[in-house]
Every structure is written in structure tokens, then in C-alpha cells.
């Protein structure tokens, strides 16, 4: 299996504050990697850098062998993203929003219409497709964000706290959607929810203070530390 995402010596300063410290990570094709760490560990920074929303202070990143800094548009063409708490243009409906984003990704015509219907159904917003987003709750926006991430059936999914704001039923449904979708996809998934990460991902990367503390298979981590929770607390300097 080839390396789909390669992060090499990545550092990021925010006005002198070191948010990411020489991070190196490789994600292989069809791997599902959970990015775990406490608040301010550097998880979101890593994902934003990979999507070209931030510029690295040093280091490099490649998606499918394409340099994210040099050729951002080409690098992220096969990536579906869901970052932070998603917000949409309130005057648009989900159908219009997905149509806009789909066209920007090169989709058009009946293929786009069919795919919009599919993803809208997948996230359970069938009745809301033609309602303006200004009327949506946070959870509904979260579902729409997942729909737009899956719209172009990307090879890679980059998800940052994707179930934040969902009710318990929504969280279960979300996990099922991701489990179905992940079969042919590579997933990089930042979360605070350890159980969710354990259910979705087969690999785990634990980051603290911008540094990679652990990166291996979930099974090996559990074997070494007895549970993901223990490993997390141990590796992020919090003993039980």
C-alpha cells in the first residue's frame, strides 16, 4: 500500500507560539487514523495545514505525492473535509450549497443531481434539501457538512471533531455512515471521543504540545497500555 498522506517535519507557529513541533506522519492507502490529543495539542492545526488553510512555518506535506503548499488545488482534489464547527451560507438551501461545491469539484449535470440526492439521503436531510440553511440547527449543519465532504466520493476524508453538536442518535448514525464510507477511503480523523475513535479507526496518532507521542495500530496500543483511555492519559502526561 502506498503512502497517501505524508507529513514531514511539519512545524507551525502562531505569533511566536509553537502549535506544531516537527511533526512527521505517514498515512497509507485505506488506513483510518484517529488523531487524538488534548485541547491545543495541534490536531486541528495539522488538519488545517493539510487542507491548505494555513501555511506551515517549516516542513512539508504531500497528498497522493502532491505538495500541498506548492500545488494546493491539485493536492486536495481527492480530499473531502469537515473542519471545525461548519457554517454555510444561510441564504442557500442544502441542494444549492451542494450544487455549488460539486460544480467547483468538477461535477455537473445529472451525475451531480444524483449524487446530491444520494448524500442528502445518506445524512438524513431528505426533507430539508430545499429549505434555507438559516433555519438549520447545529446538528443539521453538521450532517450537511458530512454530506459535502462525501459529495465527490473522495479518496481521502479529513474530519475534525465531526460528531460535535450531534445528538446521541445522530452520533450513532454518523458512525454508521463513516463505517460504510470508509471501506474504500483513507480517513484522518481528529476527535476527543476515544470510544468513537476506537470504533472507526484502526490506527491512532496521539499528539500533545504539537509533538507526536504515539503512532501505531489501535490493537498494538491496546495491548501495550491495556486500553485506549489509559494510553491517552499516560501519553498526554496525565496518570490515572
Amino acid at each position: 500500500m502506498k503512502d497517501i498522506i505524508v507529513i514531514d517535519g511539519l512545524s507551525k507557529y502562531y505569533n511566536g507560539f509553537l502549535a506544531l513541533d516537527n511533526l512527521s506522519l505517514k498515512v497509507r492507502e485505506n488506513e483510518d487514523v484517529a488523531l487524538l490529543g488534548p485541547n491545543g495539542a495541534g490536531k486541528s492545526t495539522t488538519l488545517k495545514l493539510l487542507c491548505g488553510l494555513l501555511y506551515p512555518s517549516s516542513g512539508s506535506m504531500y497528498i497522493n505525492g502532491v505538495d500541498v503548499v506548492e500545488e494546493r488545488e491539485r493536492a486536495i482534489s481527492e480530499v473531502g473535509t469537515m473542519l471545525e464547527t461548519p457554517e454555510f451560507y444561510p441564504f442557500f438551501t442544502p441542494d444549492e450549497t451542494l450544487s455549488y461545491l460539486g460544480r467547483l469539484r468538477g461535477m455537473h449535470g445529472r451525475e451531480l443531481e444524483r449524487r446530491i440526492k444520494e448524500v442528502i439521503k445518506l445524512v438524513g436531510l431528505e426533507k430539508w434539501g430545499k429549505v434555507r440553511i438559516e433555519k438549520f440547527s447545529r446538528g443539521m449543519k453538521q450532517r450537511l457538512a458530512l454530506a459535502q465532504a462525501l459529495l465527490h466520493d473522495p479518496q481521502i476524508l479529513i474530519l475534525d471533531e465531526p460528531s460535535l453538536g450531534l445528538d446521541p442518535r445522530g452520533m450513532v448514525e454518523f458512525r454508521e455512515i463513516i463505517k460504510k464510507a470508509k471501506k474504500k477511503k483513507t480517513i484522518l480523523f481528529a476527535s476527543h471521543l476515544l470510544t468513537e475513535a476506537a470504533q472507526i479507526c484502526n490506527k491512532v496518532a496521539i499528539i500533545d504540545h504539537g509533538k507526536l507521542c504515539f503512532y501505531d495500530d489501535m490493537s498494538r496500543l491496546k495491548k501495550k497500555y491495556r486500553s485506549l483511555e489509559r494510553a491517552y492519559l499516560k501519553l498526554t502526561e496525565r496518570e490515572i
Binding site: L53, E87, F88, L101, R103
Partner: protein, 267 residues
């Protein structure tokens, strides 16, 4: 897909955004109301008669065309939050991680803002032309030049506003800052230059005054003053020179706003 195809998509949806917003219709209502009021006051109060001037279509067009600058102010309301809101309201997290260049997004937004303003200007000038035909049965040829300068004024104002929108954190600040710059700071500079005996032809507000200069008379000449500043600013700004001055502001500020927007990070 080429960047030009993407530009067409961005422009289409940005324009749709403008049309879905209440502020577009608010601006439209404001323009129509201002035009109707100005025409009504001109005729109802017999302004030329009170000023001992001979009424003419040129004088009427000069008086009413000054309202077209209001449409350019409306451009600030369309452009102020165009870029800033992507960061402030976090919609950029959905828009930016797409295979489309930031330049394409900014240019698409610019075209959409300009198109929305052009619609307002066309409506304003259609009202003016209709009133001219109704009252005088003729439309002075200067109306086309006036409209061209008004369009260029709008383009330059949008470019300047985009610079603020690319830098400032909030859409509100990015709307108020260019308004203050254009209405207050530029007026003070132009006024000071005029008082000192220099013609501030290079200032955008002075160049913008040329919307009333294409009819051969200025408001200052027609009604004895009215423009701030000394003798220089009550004289006619050259329409051709003013057009190119405004074009210059457009050409300079748009690339600056693109450069700033490209450098801005989604923190």
C-alpha cells in the same frame, strides 16, 4: 476544469448570494426612493427658478445624476463582508478546501459585487432617462459618459473595499472602514488640497464627481457652490481623466486585495 470555468461558477453563486440578501433590495429601494425624491424636489420646488437659472435637460440630468454616487456607496455594503465573512462566519471552512484558487474566489466575488451594483446603477439611470424623456422629450448624450464614470467609480470603490475585507476580521468593520475612508478621509484630503490651490484630480472622490461633469455643467457652477473645498473643487473635473483615475484605483487595489486574501490564514 479550467479556472475560467470555476470563475463562472463562483460568480454565479456569489451573485445568487447577493440577490438572496435583504441588503440588495434595501439598496434598490433606497436608490429608487432617492431618485424619485430628487426628481420630485427639483420639479416641485422649481429649483432652477429659485436659483435664477434657466431650466434645461442638462441641468436636470446634472442635478439628478449626483444621486448615482449613492449607488456606489451601496457597493460598499455588497463588498464589505465579501471576503471578511468567510473568515468571520467560518464559511471558509467549507469553501476554501476545494480545488479552486483563492484568486478565482476573490475575482468571482468581485464580479458579483460589481454586477449587483451595476444593476442598481442601470435602474437609477433608467429612471433618470425616463424622467428626462417625460419632462424634456430628450436625453442628453452626456448621460452615457456619466453612467460610464459611475460604473468605474463603483468598480474602484469595490476594489478599495475588498482590500479592507481581505485584512479586517469582521464584515462590519470592513464595511464601515471604506465608507469612512471614502466619505470622510478622502473628502478632507481633497478639501485641503483644493484650499491650498491644488486640483485633487487624482483623488477618487474628486474623480467620482465627474458623474455630473459629462453634461457640460457642474452642480457648483449651476447652483453656486455645493461641493466642499475651494475654487478648485467647484470646477469641472475632466471626465476622461477621472475615468482613468478610477480605472487606476480599480487596477491597483484589486490585485492588492487578491494578494492579501491569498496570504490570509483560516485560523
Amino acid at each position: 476544469m479550467s479556472e475560467f470555468e470555476k470563475l463562472k461558477i463562483v460568480t454565479k453563486y456569489e451573485l445568487l448570494k447577493q440577490f438572496r440578501r435583504k441588503r440588495f433590495y434595501g439598496a434598490l429601494a433606497l436608490i429608487v426612493l432617492a431618485m424619485v425624491l430628487t426628481i420630485g424636489l427639483y420639479k416641485g420646488l422649481d429649483i432652477p427658478g429659485r436659483m435664477n437659472r434657466l431650466d434645461s435637460p442638462e441641468l436636470f440630468a446634472t442635478f439628478v445624476s449626483s444621486i448615482s454616487t449613492l449607488a456606489t456607496i451601496c457597493a460598499v455594503f455588497f463588498a464589505g463582508d465579501a471576503i471578511a465573512s468567510e473568515f468571520e462566519r467560518k464559511t471558509g471552512y467549507i469553501l476554501f478546501p476545494n480545488p479552486v484558487k483563492r484568486t478565482t474566489l476573490v475575482v468571482g466575488k468581485y464580479i458579483a459585487c460589481a454586477a449587483a451594483t451595476v444593476i442598481l446603477l442601470i435602474i437609477a439611470y433608467l429612471i433618470l432617462a425616463g424622467a428626462l424623456l417625460g419632462f424634456y422629450q430628450q436625453v442628453p448624450s452626456g448621460i452615457l459618459g456619466s453612467m460610464a464614470i459611475a460604473l468605474m467609480l463603483a468598480c474602484s470603490v469595490i476594489s478599495m473595499t475588498f482590500v479592507f475585507s481581505s485584512v479586517l476580521k469582521g464584515g462590519m468593520g470592513a464595511t464601515i472602514a471604506p465608507l469612512l475612508t471614502y466619505l470622510v478621509i478622502f473628502s478632507i484630503i481633497s478639501g485641503a488640497l483644493s484650499a491650498a490651490g491644488y486640483d485633487p484630480w487624482f483623488m477618487p472622490n474628486r474623480a467620482g464627481n465627474a458623474v455630473t461633469a459629462t453634461y457640460g455643467i457642474t452642480l457648483g457652477q449651476a447652483f453656486g457652490g455645493g461641493h466642499m473645498g475651494g475654487s478648485m473643487s467647484s470646477s469641472n473635473p475632466d471626465p476622461t481623466l477621472s475615468f482613468f483615475v478610477l480605472l487606476g484605483y480599480t487596477v491597483i487595489f484589486l490585485p492588492i486585495s487578491i494578494w492579501l486574501a491569498k496570504r490570509r490564514e483560516m485560523i
